[in-house]
């Protein structure tokens, strides 16, 4: 058989299993969605932001709520493998560890991206501006791609610990900060209608983040998982 096709099918099998579990009622996506909306409301309340100010904050809030929500998704995706040590079963299968990594990144990415896509029209409504711009969707793909590839790596790291259920955000948020900054900055420029040249460097930065973190995942996933 074609080894490349084998590899892809292994990735797809892992992704498919996660989709199946989600479909069977793990409720990951709905919980993430509700949570991200909650974060938005909570912040508007707790920080007592004035309406005109809020518009400028839309990009920041969008990414903060996405970052928070996707941590829930990552935790979920990890605890799924941890119950009954299902991860051990996957590790013993004749599947490349990097395929496991890619499969998990893809599943985490798709759930989070779905949440992001739903958030866009909601934000458009709340902040009275059309946020459904192709460029913004692209930023979302790049930003969430980098975020989830780093997040999956760190989630695999944190499930090995005794503090498993709470460690992930502590590890992830600060390390993901450059990604979040770049994503917020490009989103802000896009929403302000600036030309691409103004935020191109941020987008390149996001792309580099994707490459860097995926490389790190490929390099370290095996090391992290060996007991």
């Amino acid at each position: 058989m074609n080894p490349f096709r084998d590899y892809l099918s292994a990735v797809w099998n892992i992704l498919r299993k996660d989709l199946q579990v989600e479909w069977r009622g793990r409720q990951g996506v709905p919980v993430m969605l509700v949570f991200s909306l909650l974060v938005v409301f909570l912040f508007n309340f707790a920080l007592q932001l004035s309406p005109d100010l809020q518009a400028g904050l839309a990009a920041g809030l969008l990414w903060v709520s996405l970052a928070f929500a996707s941590t829930l998704g990552l935790n979920r995706s990890v605890s799924l493998e941890q119950e009954n040590k299902a991860m051990d079963g996957m590790l013993m299968a004749p599947v490349d560890r990097s395929a496991i990594y890619f499969g998990k990144v893809l599943s985490n990415f798709s759930f989070t991206f779905l949440v992001g896509l739903v958030l866009l029209p909601v934000f458009s409504l709340f902040y009275q501006q059309n946020m459904f711009k192709p460029m913004l969707v692209l930023v979302m793909v790049l930003g969430l791609g980098a975020y989830t590839s780093l997040g999956t790596l760190l989630a695999a790291l944190s499930i090995q610990t005794r503090t498993r259920d709470v460690l992930l955000p502590v590890l992830l948020y600060p390390l993901a900060l450059p990604i979040l900054i770049a994503a917020v900055e490009s989103s802000r420029s896009i929403l302000a209608g600036q030309p691409i040249a103004d935020y191109q460097s941020w987008m390149t930065f996001l792309l580099a983040g994707n490459i860097l973190f995926t490389a790190a995942g490929l390099m370290f996933f095996e090391t992290i998982l060996e007991e």
């Binding site: 292994a10 579990v21 069977r24 009622g25 793990r26 009954n84 040590k85 299902a86 079963g89 004749p94």
Partner: protein, 240 residues
């Protein structure tokens, strides 16, 4: 499958294995060699390191030093190496939120089995879970989970079976199924390494017994030679 004997007929080789937890050696310079086709029972007290040994053989735990080889491959990094092994541990390795079919299908795909559907359905039939095959594993009783775990570990027809107390929680009929299945696998020439606390039922068809004590294999004997090992015989006797 790549389980062709190389120059020798050895299927499991463990050489000078050491595993420590916090400076306490659980496995302390352990040696054991098993020929292809052996059905070896691993006995030993609670906490002596049986599970640790099997998990190291399965590639799930990294030893502190020493070598292991399964077939003629010694690296659990190679997919072909892992394909040879079937492992049943203390945890079921099943997804709680999937049903029996989905769980086994997932594993069948990971092992790239052809005719996955047929194999899965036969496998579920064989452990008598047909009636609850659409039920989430979360709602299974302990014995039902154990049955499904047995099915999972045998699914890809591995050359080497590592079973950690496989009879746990099985009822009469489940235990009988496992007896028969083990005998037939033994006849097919698979190598089976099985930890058990009450190995009485197995002695009639096992080929060897290994006694793990103080971090090493204290006795390793063919079943028919047990009377020649009075300590081992005594240990097995009372525990029957």
């Amino acid at each position: 499958m790549s389980a062709q004997p190389s120059d020798t007929n050895r299927q499991i080789v463990v050489n000078d294995l050491v595993k420590k937890y916090h400076a306490r050696s659980v496995l302390n310079h352990l040696f054991i060699t098993m020929d292809k086709g052996a059905l070896c029972i691993l006995v030993g007290d609670n906490g002596v390191g049986k599970t640790t040994l099997l998990r190291i053989l399965a590639g799930l735990v990294r030893p502190d030093s020493g070598e292991i080889a399964i077939g003629n491959s010694s690296s659990s990094r190679e997919p072909q190496h892992r394909r040879m092994i079937g492992y049943l541990g203390h945890h079921s390795m099943l997804y709680q939120d999937l049903n029996a079919i989905e769980n086994l299908t997932h594993y069948a795909r990971l092992y790239q089995l052809t005719q996955a559907e047929k194999i899965v359905s036969e496998s579920i039939q064989s452990v008598d879970l047909k009636n609850s095959q659409y039920q989430m594993v979360r709602t299974y009783s302990r014995g039902m989970q154990q049955r499904l775990s047995v099915a999972r570990s045998l699914l890809h027809d591995p050359e080497v079976l590592l079973l950690d107390e496989p009879y746990t929680g099985l009822d009469k009929q489940g235990a009988q199924f496992l007896d028969m299945r083990l005998q037939s696998l033994h006849r097919q020439g698979k190598t089976i390494f099985l930890a058990a606390h009450r190995p009485h039922r197995l002695l009639s068809f096992a080929s060897h017994v290994a006694w793990l004590k103080d971090g090493a294999i204290a006795e390793y004997s063919p079943v028919q030679d047990i009377p020649g090992h009075p300590d081992l015989a005594a240990y097995l006797q009372e525990s029957a």
